[in-house]
Symmetry: C3
Subunit: 340 residues, 3 copies
């Protein structure tokens, strides 16, 4: 199962690449090392010294870049060898450097030889615009193909069965999804007027509001960036008068069978309540790590090494969005194969 190349991959939360840190992370099969150079420049190099293949991430940051911990070759942030303690600097003494940028509190890397300037990073500006007491984030490693994790969010009816005490409740199942193919993304929405609110919201509704109007909207951008908005308002009132949350779920392939999963949550209610924020963070972490992850990893084990969709699963109405996303993914792969 090949990977997309001409995309910005979310590689890390920005604070994972702290000053002085060397973060080793494999993205789409490429072993990479991320660090901030002495100049402050965010840097990504192939995590493999060209001399003896030692991981540079086992080396040390220097004033001029990074020094291999095995025999002392030093490379600048552009991958040029700047010091060879053992002799002249031959042309072969260079390591591949990757375009890398920091946006929305995340580190993004570009693996392709193509020009990245025309490629878009999806707008996650809510990440930096939310006060810390209304925001939480996490990272999870998953032993499943990244597309199985994407499928999971494009069909949120799963929440009614996998997270019935927290994020489920039946409303998504009872609501027909509206799926829209947009240029460069797939959008799916569940608009549920006069519905039973999600369990996590029930304690916070005004008395007498046993039902409310709810909305859930997901947009998927290849490769693996997903925006999820969900909220509820008293029946008949404008959304602005209700609860609203904006979330990101980002699935970056590590290998064809493993995935880096980044998630975050922001909200417009109890915005200054740090204690509620902490409880919400724990609850989401529990749902993702203890409910989603084991189910999807078990699904991967049952599917084995052959892509699930090639094994003729029975498709339901709830699979429309994920099927469209996989088709778009395949078209992008084919298009890259023709270009490269």
């Amino acid at each position: 199962m090949p990977f997309l190349n001409d995309v910005w991959y979310a590689a890390a939360w920005a604070d994972e690449v702290a000053d002085g840190a060397l973060l080793a992370r494999t993205i789409a099969g490429q072993p990479l090392v991320f660090f901030r150079a002495a100049s402050g420049a965010l840097t990504c190099l192939l995590d493999r010294c060209p001399h003896r293949f030692a991981p540079l991430s086992r080396g040390k940051l220097t004033d001029h870049g990074i020094r291999c911990g095995y025999h002392g070759l030093e490379f600048s942030g552009s991958g040029e060898c700047v010091t060879n303690p053992h002799g002249p600097i031959a042309r072969a003494l260079r390591v591949r450097s990757y375009p890398v940028t920091e946006r929305h509190n995340m580190v993004w890397v570009w693996l392709s030889e193509q020009d990245p300037s025309r490629a878009q990073i999806p707008d996650l500006s809510f990440v930096t615009e939310t006060p810390p007491t209304a925001f939480s984030k996490g990272y999870m490693h998953g032993a499943a193909n990244h597309l199985l994790l994407v499928d999971n969010i494009l069909d949120l009816s799963h929440a009614d069965y996998l997270h019935p005490e927290t994020l489920g409740g039946g409303s998504v199942t009872r609501t027909r999804a509206q799926v829209e193919e947009r240029p460069g993304s797939i959008f799916v929405a569940w608009h549920s007027p006069n519905e039973i609110p999600l369990p996590i919201w029930r304690p916070h509704l005004p008395d007498g509001h046993e039902r409310c109007d709810m909305w859930t909207e997901v947009e998927w951008f290849p490769c693996g960036v997903m925006l999820l908005r969900a909220g509820a308002a008293p029946v008949g009132q404008a959304p602005e008068q209700g609860f609203d949350t904006m979330n990101a779920h980002i699935m970056t392939p590590e290998s064809s069978a493993t995935t880096h999963y980044f998630y975050c949550n922001s909200r417009n209610y109890l915005v200054a309540d740090a204690e509620y924020n902490a409880r919400m963070a724990v609850g989401l972490r529990y749902a993702f790590e203890c409910e989603d992850k084991p189910m999807i990893e078990a699904q991967q084990q049952r599917a084995g090494e052959i892509d699930l969709l090639e094994q003729h699963p029975a498709l339901l109405s709830v699979d429309v969005a994920s099927t469209k996303a996989r088709r778009m993914f395949e078209r992008l792969l084919s298009s890259e194969a023709r270009t490269n």
Copy 2:
């Protein structure tokens, strides 16, 4: 190494499929889920939802069958979809159901498409006829091909070397095995008049009985059901006046390199002695888990992925029974290949 199809496989001790339980177990490469339906009917389904391949064993029992824990599809015990919360029930929404029966305190499953009605489950009626204080049973997972575990019991001379302080003592080695090919089974017997009794029996013999008449008989039924009778009587007396034990050793393949091993033991002496019974259970568990299992797993590692018998081991007289069993197994495999 293929598996037999047209046989009843012992899948579990009956109490492993308790009311309300979902038992996930792979038999001969098939991932299965066993449960007792609300109606009480013992049920076995393929443990893979046809929708997204989630294991049904991660779901929940319902009044009508089992509900997938991922998106809520509900299947009856016959594998029909009875609820699709997301739309109509298409024909593809069914999961394979397997004939399953409970006999001799075990759950048996039939994996083949053939009619099971003419196939026999070997008679293990001693299992339900023995009082609890004279009976013990166990389950062990083994990292070895099931036929290596069968070989082990068809050549009980191994007890003289692997279990010298408990089940050995030299008498089996000193006795010529009588091997008999029967319709549908292989039978092997060691009849040892005037022999040194097994170490486990010595403390219980009347004074002055340093020697006794002993018998050990094993019958193997494909696939993997083995009956083992062993006993001892004072020299010259009838067997009824001595110790007699009836045992089952059942090797059900999980994969070509792993095996479910079920064993049980019953006896006709100290029948009401619960304390002795508990000590015997511990002793047998020790012999099987700490002596047999490591040796056979090591043997599997030395043999590797190629069947041991294809690697031209040196055969001894003690291998007659296991060789006949493997030939019968091969004939059954060939016969199934022609039929199916």
Copy 3:
């Protein structure tokens, strides 16, 4: 990646094959068992009973050899079956026996069918000539191809980066290696007059000796035996007036991806200081297990299953010795392929 055959492999420190012990160790892909027979003769047999492939190392020593723990076949040190409790001793009942010898406190084994008498074991006589208070030794298992471990010692410039606080210090990097191809070995020397002494030696130099003359010499003998001499003397004085150490580093392949690593150290200073000796042993163990081993295992992971040198790494001047050693290794492999 094939192994050399016509060499004496270092298999164990002599004390690993204690009286009464059965040492199971795989050398160059062959599972072997080492023991001392009742006669005292050091013995090596294939660790696989010809009957059912049980490891003989799970058996017991006897007066006449070793008895298989599974069915009691007994083999002499020459691999002949001397007891078959189950019948006559057929010709097939033999296990391969390997020439084995004890020298320099190590057990050496010969895997080839060729005559070993003309093959040399490198001279490690310092091992038995050093008093115990000036000697230490160790064993380490490494998850890397043996040649990567050889490369490590043939290019000691790595010490300046991987062991900067103990064995490094920059002098090897600043010194041009003299590499010499000898009949049957590769020799490399770093002679460093008027240099900064190694960190481990600094506390022991007389006052006012901020610099000294240093020497480091390594000789590699296939397969995997390396002698390492390193020392330092006050500037302009004869080596005899300084510190001198003799070391062995021995890399015996277990499989193509794992290696048995034996090392030892002797010295000519503080010869009676047991406390210093113990500290030195801990320090070396730390350097090898906590600095070398993780780096080389990481290098192996980056290289994967293809030999590093076939992946066109950038070679430096410091790689001259290891390149010559690998060429000699390849020539020996080719020569064996023609002969055998």
